[in-house]
């Protein structure tokens, strides 16, 4: 194991890790409730997932294998930087394979492959408060969470239905956790919401700028808000992946040339690569 000298294991000092660890345990004990923590300055700018990085840094150990994805891809600048950061400050092994990772830090997606026990999914969260667009006063949103008074969110969804005929939220679609707390799933596509429900892996959420941590324990109910006559419907482009042929994965539309050519490909690069390799092997 090689750890660059001059860093504590995992970059954070032990006092900070202890404080974050205490917050994580309370977050797990109260599923969906936002626990404040004393966020530290990290050597990466906000927007680069400093909340997720602090959670990962407080959890990770030499036995772990870390995967980092950004919009489903392992090879973006953001994902590569975070992976290198942990290889440097914790000496941990990294991987691009979802099934081989013990910790997966993510921004904007949940992997397509079903996660299992023994894995921890760490979300980078820009805005933890699901009610912030509807009620900017923190004292008020705290009161609403205390009373489980989420009428404001139902009204907002109902207005969507009145205006568009359906709920027009494709990202960051609000969920109820354990039947009690309204929670932001972070800006994942609504398509991914059902994967959170009773997931065997532990889900941890870190918001660095807003200094909040929250969690969904394994096998916990996560329901997307909806109405009886307008049930939640995860949306996906009606196409097959141009590279692997998948019809069940979340697709990104990519521009292929400067003449307006486009195609749909899996957003989850590991899922797509694995399927392509399997197809080639079968041929």
């Amino acid at each position: 194991m090689t750890i660059e000298t001059g860093y504590n294991f995992g970059y954070l000092d032990e006092n900070t890790k202890r404080m974050i660890r205490r917050a994580l345990l309370k977050a797990v004990a109260i599923p969906g409730h936002q626990v404040p923590f004393g966020s530290r300055e990290m050597p990466l700018p906000y927007g680069w997932g400093t909340g997720g990085i602090q959670v990962t840094a407080s959890v990770i150990g030499p036995q772990d294998r870390l995967k980092v994805i950004d919009q489903g891809a392992d090879d973006t600048t953001n994902a590569v930087s975070i992976r290198r950061f942990f290889a440097k400050v914790a000496g941990v092994a990294t991987t691009e394979r979802t099934s081989g990772a013990t910790i997966i830090q993510t921004r904007h997606r949940i992997p397509e492959v079903k996660l299992r026990e023994g894995q921890i999914l760490v979300y980078q969260v820009p805005m933890p408060e699901p009610l912030f667009r509807l009620e900017p006063r923190v004292s008020e949103t705290r009161r609403m969470h205390a009373l489980a008074d989420y009428g404001l969110m139902h009204v907002r969804l109902y207005e969507d239905i009145a205006r568009h005929g359906h709920i027009a939220i494709s990202y960051n679609y609000p969920v109820m956790v354990g039947g009690r707390y309204l929670m932001s799933p972070s800006p994942i596509p609504a398509f991914d919401n059902p994967k959170m429900h009773r997931m065997p892996a532990l889900q941890l959420f870190g918001a660095g700028r807003e200094k909040r941590i929250y969690a969904v324990p394994p096998y916990t109910s996560v329901q997307s808000l909806d109405f009886e006559d307008h049930p939640f419907q995860p949306i996906r482009a009606n196409a097959a992946c141009a590279l692997c042929g998948a019809r069940d994965s979340y697709l990104d539309e990519v521009v292929t040339d400067d003449k307006g050519g486009r195609m749909f490909v899996c957003s989850d690069t590991d899922y797509c690569n694995t399927r392509q390799a399997a197809r080639e092997a079968a041929e």
Binding site: E14, R18, L25, A29, P31, G61, G178, R180, L202, P218
Partner: protein
């Protein structure tokens, strides 16, 4: 002052590994986790109880304990935590004799339910294929847990603790190197 035994052999990795055991225990209530890293915990503490305290307690967390002078000195030295006489004022409680009643501990508020106590109880034995039936978040269908060494009215106290959700106390049970957790969400039925 009696001679102090060491804390974690490796303070950084010892705490990390113990934290993962506690996080896993809290995420999967009733499942047993084994903790190592402290060779000689002060009597009457087992390895898991001692390691849990060093992993979570520090100068910011008032601690209550009934474990006696040697353990108090050890905690003060290695964790640097203030020790308090009143259970209601503690963030962490470490009970080796009769545990304080759950209702007397910090419950948090409706707005800040996380500002509640965590009670660590050293019990005689823990076993996970028999005993109570646990259900709730973290449990796919049901987990079993058998505990020897809790007060006779524990289940009644626990039911009241659950009714206060989201307020309430979280419990870590330790027996030697083993630990299991009961977050406030866990339902317990007698077998």
């Amino acid at each position: 002052m009696s001679e102090l035994t060491p804390g974690f052999a490796d303070p950084v990795l010892g705490a990390q590994s113990c934290f993962r055991a506690i996080l896993e225990a809290m995420s999967r209530p009733g499942r047993l986790q084994r903790v190592a890293g402290i060779d000689q915990p002060p009597a009457p503490l087992g390895v898991a109880a001692a390691a849990t305290m060093l992993t979570l307690a520090d100068a910011d967390t008032p601690v209550w304990t009934d474990a006696g002078r040697a353990a108090e000195d050890w905690l003060r030295f290695h964790a640097g935590c203030p020790l308090v006489a009143s259970p209601a004022e503690a963030a962490f409680l470490l009970a080796t004799g009769r545990m304080p009643a759950l209702a007397t501990l910090a419950q948090g508020s409706e707005e800040e339910p996380h500002r509640s106590a965590t009670l660590i109880v050293e019990v005689r034995t823990l076993a996970e294929t028999v005993g109570w039936k646990l259900t709730g978040p973290g449990i796919e269908t049901e987990h079993r847990l058998q505990v020897a060494g809790l007060p006779a009215d524990f289940l009644r106290q626990w039911a009241a603790n659950r009714r206060g959700f989201p307020r309430g106390v979280d419990v870590v049970l330790t027996a030697g190197p083993w630990l299991a957790a009961l977050p406030r969400t866990t339902r317990i039925e007698e077998a």
